[in-house]
């Protein structure tokens, strides 16, 4: 056996190098570089707006400031508005809108902040810089996250508010100071206006507040310290304690809810104001629920009313989205955390970080959402890859508990866990682990680029000027991939142009694009009286099995 002493000066440079910045700053720098490189890669390969939804998010924001009928009403009533509001300053510039880089900027900023706060949250739980850095590294090196942060998709907007709200909420549980509670409520508010998952987050936080104060009032726990337990509430002292705790709970719940739930209230009010129905997003023809009904009628909604299948689908999706090795290790970390009696509020922390699991299992079970993943979905289904990006919501959970596991290991264990991060990266690199979010965007059902119709090339090459009547919901063509200015588009959100065009197509439009059975087809092509006008004023310039394009004959 040989013993080598590596003297301090030999590796002092390493410490000096690491000490140039604070650990958070290193995380920020690393996230910036990784995110930037991923975006450059997506940009040059044409993957930024690969998802069909990616363009829709960009278009919603663009219409607020630059459309036939600009205004905030263009935000609509299905998708929550905050990610689109963030996009507005960037989509003002046509180049950023058409390339999708507007979305990359928003998602990229969210990604960087998420990485930094994953570091901070892990540090809050572990008090260990290395473990916290590795937690952030796990998040930063996740290729699903890296891809999504280069796109206008809204997952990163939710993730950043989820992490921020969770961080401040856990900070509040630790010190019971009011400012973190207010911050948690504020970021919860932002989350509720980013994706519906955010609603589950604030509900859970309110529930945790209840659980946090109530057991103490009844003397049945809340702390692991035995001395604090079992205060008899029938005694005078117990009654006072109950009163005190109740009023504390009441005050903090009101403080938290006033801000956290106002987003939900605003959204319901918005639905009522703009669309005349506060629950428009749950049951309109454009809602997720309506879309799931068509899967259900085909017998292709496997998790519907089946809790085990719902859990299985989301668990496998989450595992694949975080990386199988990372996810399994994080479950070990979670178990270590759960059985660590010294950790105060460990159940509450766990409940909070598991919100995406509860939410997604519930929505799958209720038929409000659907996931198709090749490893589980029967090959007899029309599609086997869809919505798998929902799994990335569990990436913060995986990163934080991976970090926690690192913190509890010896030097050798830490080295091994670093090796596991590298191994996971290798599995992605050699193709053993699929980058699901990327695959869905490029050739799953969520993809637009996998099924670009020939009509897209026709309109891109032949559009000259004038207004275009199109049912945007059917995604017949991609507007940003043409030279059509947004203010020349007539779609369902342009009152009264849309309604008038469906009865008098010649009134505004120079071009009409219709897809079999879309709103334009049904209202113009299928109705004989309007159809006659169509052929009187328009030439059919493009015909395919499902898509027809008409151009105005003359300016009469």
């Amino acid at each position: 056996m040989a013993e080598i002493i590596i003297r301090k000066p030999s590796f002092g440079w390493l410490a000096r190098f690491a000490g140039i910045y604070l650990p958070e700053s290193w995380v920020l720098l690393l996230a910036f570089l990784a995110g930037g490189l991923a975006t450059i890669w997506s940009f040059f390969n044409g993957y930024i707006i690969a998802y069909g939804d990616a363009e829709s998010h960009l278009n919603i924001a663009k219409r607020v400031i630059d459309s036939l009928t600009p205004g905030f009403a263009q935000l609509g009533g299905i998708w929550l508005p905050l990610p689109h509001i963030f996009l507005i300053p960037f989509v003002y510039f046509d180049w950023l809108w058409r390339t999708g880089l507007a979305g990359s900027i928003v998602s990229g900023i969210a990604f960087i902040i998420s990485a930094v706060y994953i570091y901070k949250l892990a540090n809050l739980l572990t008090k260990n810089n290395l473990a916290s850095f590795l937690a952030a590294l796990v998040f930063i090196s996740n290729p699903n996250i890296l891809y999504l942060q280069s796109t206008p998709m809204t997952e990163l907007s939710l993730i950043v508010f989820f992490i921020l709200s969770s961080y401040y909420f856990i900070l509040f549980l630790k010190d019971e100071e009011l400012l973190p509670l207010i911050m948690a409520a504020f970021f919860g508010f932002c989350a509720t206006l980013s994706r519906y998952d955010g609603w589950a987050l604030v509900l859970m936080e309110a529930g945790i507040l209840f659980l946090y104060y109530f057991p103490i009032a009844f003397g049945i726990g809340g702390s692991d310290s035995k001395e604090e337990e079992s205060e008899d509430i029938s005694s005078e002292k117990g009654k006072n304690l109950f009163k005190e705790t109740w009023s504390l709970f009441e005050g903090r719940l009101i403080l938290f809810s006033t801000l956290a739930f106002v987003g939900i209230a605003l959204w319901l009010f918005w639905g009522f104001l703009i669309l005349g129905d506060p629950l428009y997003f749950t049951h309109s023809q454009f809602s997720a629920n309506s879309q799931q009904q068509s899967w259900l009628s085909r017998g292709e909604l496997p998790a519907y009313h089946n809790l085990i299948v719902a859990f299985k689908y989301y668990f496998v999706t989450a595992m694949s989205s975080s990386g199988i090795i990372i996810f399994i290790t994080s479950i070990l970390g979670m178990l270590v955390f759960l059985f660590d009696r010294k950790k105060e509020n460990r159940f509450f922390v766990l409940l909070l970080l598991l919100v995406p699991l509860f939410f997604n299992v519930a929505t799958l079970f209720l038929g409000q959402s659907v996931i198709f993943i090749p490893s589980l979905t029967p090959t007899t289904f029309e599609w086997t890859l869809f919505n798998v990006r929902y799994g990335v919501m569990m990436a913060p959970f995986a990163a934080i508990f991976f970090g926690y596991f690192v913190a509890r290991r010896s030097a050798f264990g830490k080295t091994l866990l670093v090796a596991l991060i590298i191994s996971q990266a290798m599995l992605y690199f050699i193709g053993f682990s699929p980058v699901l979010a990327f695959q869905d965007g490029t050739h799953g059902l969520s993809s637009f680029i996998a099924k670009i119709p020939d009509a897209q090339y026709f309109i891109a090459n032949n559009y000259d000027h004038g207004m275009v009547l199109v049912d945007d919901y059917a995604r017949t063509i991609s507007i940003i991939r043409t030279s059509i200015p947004m203010k020349e588009i007539i779609y369902v959100g342009n009152k009264p142009y849309w309604e008038e065009s469906l009865t008098e197509p010649q009134k505004y439009a120079r071009w009409i694009v219709m897809h079999r059975n879309d709103a334009v087809w049904r209202n113009i092509y299928d109705r004989p009286e309007v159809n006659a006008r169509l052929f009187k004023y328009f030439n059919k310039v493009y015909t395919s099995e499902d898509i027809l394009i008409f151009r105005r004959i003359s300016e009469n």
Partner: protein, 509 residues
Amino acid sequence: MKKDKLIIIAIFFLGLVIYLLTLRGVAGNPVARDFKENLDKPTMPFELSPERGRFVHVVNLAERGQFDLSREWAEVAYPDVGIAGGKFYSFFAPGTSYFAVPFYLIGKKFGLSQVAVFFMEVAAALISAIFIYKIARKIFNLPNKASLFSVFVFAFASNAWPYSITLYQHIFTTLFMVAAFYAAWKFANERGGRAWLYASWVWAAYALSIMVDYPNAILMLPIMIYFVYSTFSIKRVEEGISLSIRWAAIFTFIVFVLITGLQFWHNAHYYGSWRELAGGIQTYRHPEEIATNASASTGTTKNIVAFFSEKKIPHGLFILLFSDERGLFFFYPIFILSLFGIWFFYKKSREVVVFPEYVLALALILTNVALYSSWGDPWGGWAFGPRYLIPSMAWLSIFAGIFISQGAHTGIKKILAFLLFLYSSAVALLGALTTNAVPTKGEALLLPIKKYNFLKNIDFIGNNHSGSFIYNTYLSGRMTLLAYYLIIYFAVALIVLLVLIASRNKTHG
């Protein structure tokens, strides 16, 4: 110590007798024309392509001194035959075939070349069983009876039995795994000259295991990581950081280099490139088959790595662990107890300072299960039980031993263990005495028989249709196969019952 030696001798002779009673084979030195519609029929020694594909190389090595196959022997291994440099090879890693050559040559002198080659697997299984005993006893600190029970679970109540009496790679994988585990542990705890021996042993086992089956490079990784862990130790000292290196592990790497060098030489010499693996060479198809079957073509190659994929894991896990066609817990429910054993031993492993070894055993199981769950064919083709999990069964058997020996209520635990042993052993013996050629559910449902698990083997017992060399050669006219089955079964059950009864002690039920 003396008792342990006696027990090891008992394991060897008991295992030898029982395994020989079920050893698959026929008398004679088979030649190529003996195979078609004869030795390749169900219950015959070459009922499936893995046995044929390995044996043909043994014959060619022994008879011609060449690994490549003559055309007539290539016909025997067909359709699992590839072509490289104009010569024929089967798709199986060459290690097992090389090891078998001495057995073939000895057996041939007695007119028992095939039986002798298959006996090599029995020998490997017995050595594995002895290592399992030593690991249970010395590393996991189990009482000798519980350690013996672990051995019996592995030998007679797991898939190891049906695959210890035929020509497959699994038993060798298990042997190299348990041997390397034991050697790595000895290395970790040994100083001086012997440490060099153990380190060499670890490297040799790793290299040889890869020769036997390429995925072993990954399967054995946890042991190699443990080995590295024992080699380097880092601690903070006042002057800086102290790094201790045990040079024995570093210098004995030469053993790995030499053996792997031989493997590379083999690849380069026969397949045309040191990087070319047996499974990756071009497939060969008969010209007449290409003429009649549009999908058949010569010259296609397989990307072996692409056959593993994460998306296959959920389905693979179900097939390997729970399905009624290959599921571990369906075929061998004794291993349910192992899960409890793992749970019970979590704390205990820290008390007896074997936590790293405990984690290592778990890592080996997890790696095995994860690797073959992601494999495109978790069934292992036509096979009996979850054959890819045989290496894990060695570790699960030890945890079954832990289950009966740890904590309270050991009496009830032993009754439960015995009942589950009876079921598992009955299943294992069905496979060992009859056939491993059990179709997958998907294929079976297209066949008249419609059976895709050990129920198919029961029919063979009823029809006196055995693969056992001893039964077919000496006893088939004198007793039914059912009687033969019951004699072996009750003998094994009785031995295990005695072990469980004898393992009662004053402190535990």
